[in-house]
Symmetry: C2
Subunit: 313 residues, 2 copies
């Protein structure tokens, strides 16, 4: 399957596994890359030394292209960038910050750079900063999210119209139907997060994988908009945030309630009560943990079926 | 073009014009039906006598099938239902209420019944109530909206999986790309609202049409969630709602602020300051008022191009 994204990344299928904190270590990235997609390390939850170890392990596990996701607000981002350059990482996906500072440096070292955006304005800025592609992520996506609340259905064609570099769709994509829908909207590839949280190779805690598989429609909500908007699974911690809103909590009180380390506690350590559980709306659409390869194979099979079934005009 | 929806409604193309208060009278419905789609009268803003007149005029203007949208919470809903039956309206689209009470009565008179839903739970209830099809409307849609905030990308496949009747996609659809995306998600047709507000035949005030064409990304927001969630265009009235939220306004205070007649004032009378302006996110994706037929022709042209350009696996 050939698109601008498979060409850019040197992969077989235009399926990018999202770099998700606490869920995407070398095991998941290796499985996705070996299956013909683009596996991604989520560096946002790794100390610089840990990222170095994961890249080393990943390179030992696959000779295929892979990516590292770098949230640009990461405290020691310079160390992460240096690690990526040292290892000649094939692709770096930047997010949560301005792509201006590092894009050219990474590209000068032959690294393909993609940047995650939640709006057309950010997409054109990323293009101006010299990135090779943008990932347009809609309101339905898990984790941190844009303030405009533009959904994938509206955001992707808007970004496609606004930039001349390839666009990857993200948010709400977990099977071959939403993959085909994304391509119809003009995307050249898809980024898939939530579905891979519930993969065998994901480093998410088993309790979190189970919760994701059991999630129903309406079980996630975009919240903490006064801090950084984030889509969370409904659990006692989420309910305590909601309760705080009901009491008219200040921004400072919300920050204190959130505290530190809650994402790790929930997604990595399996505390389903006190943990912060970042996941997308699309978690309601699947219900079993599968090997990453099987997730990709099923997406491609359904994608083919979907194309054949589209009503012809 | 043949789908379960074109068969059910006896139309040429599976494009349903949404019944929108103050914007969709007989002129728009006639133009859409004449162009091969399903034109719809928005009865929610019509007195029973006015609906009767519009149906009479519409029948005089086209011999093709058309629909009436009935918001089931309309105060004199019995009169509206009686008017639809009297005129042997081909299709009734019910919304905002339980489809239990009227579906069978309408069907007994040979009327096709579709019901607008914002969740899978409502879709299965509508199917159980005997409706012929459901319209699954996502978070990005204009006007009144569901509480779960599920987007079209996630809602449509979920509803398709949950019911055995045909599903129409709504929310975020304004061109052939989003139409193709909707079909890929499993829909058998699309309902298009915002795009037809900015049509020549729409009864929206010219000032509202202009505002819709000028809307940018992020200019609409789902608000008034304590009352009935509604997606509004950012204008001074919307800002006063936001200000009230900042002051911790009670539900009663919000109700008083909203008052009565604001939708008419804005959308029909053209008061862009004090009016309530209901429109979808997709308003950011088009920028000129066109005849309804041209909107449909362009959708179909782009739909065909989109299908041809989808990357083959």
């Amino acid at each position: 399957m050939k698109t601008a994204i498979t060409d850019l990344c040197g992969i077989d299928y235009p399926i990018i596994q999202a770099g998700m904190i606490w869920c995407s270590g070398w095991q998941l990235a290796a499985a996705v890359s070996e299956a013909g997609g683009l596996g991604t390390l989520g560096a946002g939850s790794m100390h610089p030394k840990v990222l170095d170890q994961h890249i080393t392990q990943l390179k030992a596990s696959t000779s295929k292209p892979f990516a590292v996701n770098l949230p640009l607000l990461y405290p020691d981002i310079d160390a992460h960038v240096a690690t990526c350059i040292k290892h000649q990482v094939p692709v770096v996906i930047t997010s949560a910050g301005s792509p201006k500072k590092y894009s050219q440096q990474l590209k000068d070292h032959g690294i393909v750079v993609m940047h995650v955006v939640s709006s057309t304005a950010f997409a054109t800025k990323a293009e101006a900063a010299g990135v090779d592609a943008v990932i347009a992520e809609g309101f339905e996506a898990g984790g941190h999210n844009g303030r405009d609340e533009t959904t994938t259905m509206v955001l992707v064609p808007a970004v496609v119209d606004a930039v001349s570099i390839p666009v990857v769709a993200a948010g709400g994509i977990a099977d071959g139907r939403s993959m085909a829908a994304s391509m119809a909207l003009g995307a050249q590839g898809v980024q898939v997060g939530s579905r891979f949280v519930a993969s065998e190779e994901s480093s998410a805690h088993e309790a979190f994988k189970t919760a994701v598989c059991e999630a129903s429609e309406g079980d996630t909500q975009l919240t903490l908009k006064e801090l950084t908007p984030v889509r969370l699974l409904n659990n006692p911690f989420y309910q305590s945030v909601n309760h705080a809103y009901g009491e008219g909590a200040s921004k400072e009180a919300l920050q204190e309630l959130l505290g530190r380390g809650r994402a790790k506690k929930g997604m990595f350590e399996g505390d389903m009560t006190e943990g912060e559980l970042e996941i997308g709306q699309v978690s309601s659409l699947f219900n079993e943990v599968l090997p990453a390869r099987q997730i990709i194979d099923q997406m491609l099979t359904t994608y083919r079926e979907t194309l054949n079934q589209l009503p012809k005009p």
